[in-house]
């Protein structure tokens, strides 16, 4: 079932076109309010767009002209199942009955539906809660039952809106593994804020911002070579944009610190770029060194490439994360061991220099 | 049977009496409930093959119902107006109605008679809470007639829609006095005291009875009407306080 989709919802500034191949899983990423849930609700048939067209396999889901008139398939005839952002378990049915609802609605016998439901509850790891009512479940337990319910209805297109957000770390890997198996040969869209979900579950990602597609491509391309600040943030990478000044040199669009002259970034070019081309430069925080003088006294531990860029910045934030501290300075960040942070007496407001070798700064076409 | 003396002149009566069977439906004014229930029982006892179904409601309700096709054989009204409506509708023959009882007004007061009411004129005193029927209903029309006749101007605290409501206000002690029919005073027993007054003769209420033209059992209907207007009927009605037909 490949999907062709295009729809506009003026009231939410939503205008998205996308096609998905049979069996492909696409992760939908984007900041809060970007239109991810809107995208899914339109596909599921719960929100009627102002105009647009969607075809799943050979079934026309909707085809609406400018006036909003046209064909419109009701939700239950779409073969599209959706797990909404809140679990929305039917309050009058037990966990098991909730999961059995989908199969039964598609004509499966009661007994068979219940046995399928039992199997799905097993797979999401809450089979012991089968007879409980939704009000007697914790937040995460309810979310798992909702995942099972969406999967049990065996849809042709599966829509998942943040399915793992409420799961605890001990449960998430198992459910994620299960989802990967289930999604392997299934056409699906999954909204997530977790890069791990995108890597594990999705073949491609689409990044929405303010109701538009701003990036689209195979997961690894988009997240390893981000083109938008959002994708870079999600992948925890530093992203600087600019114009190619010379081979191996990119002139950054904005100085990193206000009041500075335009910065020249020395980078490793992976695309064929010539002077004047727009380019993105991507740097892992762990490849950035921090020093309190502009010299190279904080020698990199990697291969001693002498060609490096030094960025003058002011620390805005320190984030301890386990065995490293993330030192943030506006949009760029460096990871430093706690010991070094203490030695250098780093704190918000302190002026430091971030150093990065050309080998660790990857430049590609924007 | 008690009707034998009068009925000697009408030979078919005794033969038809034995032939009466099936059922008849009698639509009777609500104020006839006690008497007609008793009369129907006696009539049924006389005619074992016959059952009498009784429907009681306000006379005007009954008129509407019969006009709309209610299955009535006999209509007994509490006033001549309502009977005339059915005659106009041709549901009752113009000459069919027979007057079978009369009723006169009395003053009803609570047993203790707190305001010391003795005459109609006492009802016009300030501070006496009097209830009467509204002029639109028969007992109200009668009340207006006696007021005119006596030259008394009563300012009632309420003009009720039916005698029952007037009586209710008096028995509950809510009103100091009310104008109701003699039969109502008798039916209420100890709950009220009745005070007769001479002007009541100016407004005698007449009860007509008649068969309905498209009734299912005209023979039995006529027999029942004869029974009501006959000696037994008169005895029962008189016991309840009704006067003889004029």
């Amino acid at each position: 079932m490949n999907l062709e989709f295009s729809a506009q919802v003026a009231a939410r500034g939503f205008d998205v076109s996308l096609s998905i191949a049979q069996g492909e899983t696409v992760a939908v990423l984007g900041p809060n309010g970007a239109g991810k849930s809107t995208f899914l609700t339109v596909l599921a048939g719960l929100l009627r767009p102002d105009s647009g067209r969607a075809v799943l396999g050979d079934r026309v889901l909707f085809e609406l002209g400018a006036g909003g008139r046209g064909r419109w398939l009701p939700p239950h005839e779409r073969g599209v199942s959706m797990l909404a952002q809140d679990a929305l378990l039917f309050p009058h049915l037990s966990a098991l009955e909730n999961v059995a609802f989908g199969p039964q609605s598609r004509g499966v016998s009661r007994a068979e539906a219940r046995s399928r439901a039992t199997a799905w509850l097993e797979r999401v790891g809450v089979s012991e809660l089968a007879t409980r009512g939704p009000a007697q479940l914790s937040g995460g337990q309810a979310q798992r039952v909702a995942v099972a319910r969406a999967l049990a209805s065996d849809p042709e297109l599966l829509l998942l809106d943040e399915p793992l957000a409420a799961l605890d770390v001990s449960a998430a890997p198992a459910v994620r593994r299960m989802l990967r198996d289930v999604l392997a040969d299934r056409t699906a869209l999954i909204v997530t804020h977790d890069i791990l979900d995108a890597f594990t579950l999705a073949d491609r990602v689409v990044v929405l911002e303010a109701g538009r597609v701003v990036d689209l491509g195979p997961t690894r391309d988009v997240l390893d070579r981000p083109r938008t600040p959002f994708a870079a943030g999600l992948a925890a990478l530093n992203l600087l944009t600019g114009t190619v000044a010379a081979p191996g040199v990119v002139r950054a669009d904005s100085p990193v610190a206000p009041g500075e002259a335009a910065l020249l970034l020395r980078a490793r070019f992976v695309d064929d770029l010539t002077a004047g081309d727009r380019a993105a430069v991507c740097i892992r925080p762990s490849a950035v060194t921090v020093s309190v003088t502009p010299t190279t006294d904080a020698a990199p531990t990697g291969p001693g490439d002498p060609e490096r860029t030094v960025l003058p910045v002011t620390i805005t934030d320190l984030e301890p994360r386990g065995d490293l501290v993330r030192v943030r300075a506006g949009d760029v960040a460096a990871d430093a061991p706690p010991g070094r942070v203490a030695d250098l007496d780093l704190a918000p407001g302190v002026r430091v220099w971030f150093g990065v070798t050309a080998a660790d700064a990857v430049a590609y076409r924007l | 049977s008690g009707g034998a003396a009068d009925g000697a002149a009408q030979p078919p009566e005794s033969s038809s009496a034995s032939a009466l069977e099936g059922s008849i439906t009698v639509f009777a004014a609500a104020s006839l409930k006690g008497t007609f229930t008793e009369l129907a029982d006696e009539f049924e006892a006389e005619h074992p093959g016959l059952t009498v179904e009784l429907t009681f409601a306000g006379s005007s309700d009954l008129v509407t119902q019969i006009a709309e096709g209610a299955p009535a054989d006999v209509f007994a009204s509490a006033d001549e107006n309502n009977m005339a409506k059915l005659v106009d509708e041709a549901l009752i023959g113009p000459d069919a109605p027979v007057e079978f009882a009369t009723n006169v007004l009395q003053i009803a007061v609570p047993p203790a008679n707190p305001q010391g009411i003795e005459t109609l004129a006492d009802l016009a005193r300030a501070g006496v809470a009097v209830v009467v029927c509204a002029p639109q209903v028969p007992c109200g029309a009668a009340a207006a007639a006696v007021e005119t006749a006596a030259g008394v101007d009563i300012a009632p605290v309420s003009e009720e829609s039916s005698v029952t409501d007037v009586l209710g206000k008096v028995t509950s002690g809510e009103a100091d006095a009310g104008l109701v029919y003699l039969t109502d005073v008798i039916a209420a027993g100890d709950a009220v005291r009745g005070i007769a007054f001479p002007e009541s003769a100016e407004a005698v209420n007449v009860y007509p009875i008649a068969p309905v033209t498209d009734g299912q059992n005209p023979e039995a209907a006529l027999a029942f009407i004869d029974f009501v207007t006959g000696a037994e009927g008169r005895a029962v009605l008189e016991a309840a306080g009704f006067g003889a037909a004029p």
């Binding site: 048939g45 779409r78 073969g79 809140d86 598609r106 | 609500a30 709309e68 096709g69 209710g168 028995t171």
Partner: protein, 279 residues
């Protein structure tokens, strides 16, 4: 989804949060409704009570009242549930006027309602002639009693259910539809179970109204013992001769109503228990 307040198992556990003055005013309101009942009870002549209540005509009337009221309630559910669903879930031209019109049997004095029914189903009525031609007479039969009761009781069911349907919203129905359930399945397995408490209380209201119905029945169905004379009509007739007897008979009506209402609430409580835990 965790709502601990509603699900406290022991009654003294849940935090209520009802201000004291609200309790005070509520007590005044309860007294206003209950005192007249008490006053009624004090006036009952208990010596006469048993023979009066067990007389043939009383028992006939009681039996007829129960039969017709239950039938009317069933009819109200049958017609009223679809009406409530349509009013709550669709929008169409004239809907607002239709909703007001459905209320009308409430505001019409019952006797006038009965006359309107006569004008419709009576011999000379709008539909009556058609029925007459088919040899069916509706007016003045037990059917007429049921129709009169249904007419006055239907708005109760429609309005309480419509309110509940709006309050519950369409979110669960939407989920059901995306799981592949057809509208009829959604209605049967999601919408209706979610509003079971409201459906029950609507049915109880309808039953109570049908049981107490008097004016429309009198006008439309007449008052024939065993056929159309329901308990309220019997009470009305008793009042002509003996108001205190009427009050005694009314007590029977009250007791029947309390029993039915309590039973329905009991059923609603056990049926809706799981649901209520989540509300």
């Amino acid at each position: 989804m965790t709502r601990p307040i509603a699900s406290g198992r022991r009654r003294d556990r849940a935090y209520a949060g009802v201000p004291g003055w609200v309790m005070g005013v509520a007590a005044v309101g309860a007294a206003f409704v209950l005192l007249p009942l008490v006053a009624m009870v004090t006036r009952v002549n208990w010596a006469e009570f048993v023979p009066l209540v067990t007389s043939e005509s009383s028992l006939d009337a009681l039996g007829l009242s129960l039969r017709t009221s239950l039938t009317a309630t069933a009819l109200c559910v049958l017609l009223g549930v679809p009406m409530a669903v349509v009013l709550a879930r669709t929008e169409f031209w004239g809907q607002r006027i239709l909703r007001s019109l459905v209320l009308l049997p409430l505001v019409l004095p019952p006797v006038v309602g009965g006359i309107a029914l006569l004008y419709t189903f009576g011999r000379r009525g709008l539909l009556g002639q058609g029925f007459e031609a088919l040899g069916v007479t509706i007016a003045f039969s037990t059917t007429a009693v049921v129709l009169a009761q249904t007419f006055v009781a239907l708005p109760f069911l429609v309005l309480s259910l419509e309110g509940a349907l709006r309050t519950v919203g369409t979110r669960y129905e939407a989920v059901g539809a995306t799981l592949g359930a057809r509208p009829t399945t959604v209605l049967r397995r999601i919408t209706l179970p979610l509003v079971v408490p409201a459906l029950l209380s609507g049915a109880v209201l309808s039953f109570a109204r049908a049981l107490g119905e008097f004016g429309a029945t009198l006008a439309f169905a007449g008052s024939l013992q065993g056929v159309t004379r329901t308990l309220p009509l019997e009470i009305y007739l008793q009042r002509e001769t003996d108001p205190d007897a009427a009050v005694a008979l009314s007590l029977v009506l009250v007791v029947v109503a309390v029993v039915v209402v309590a039973a329905a609430h009991q059923a609603g409580r056990s049926g809706g228990a799981r649901l209520r835990g989540s509300s």
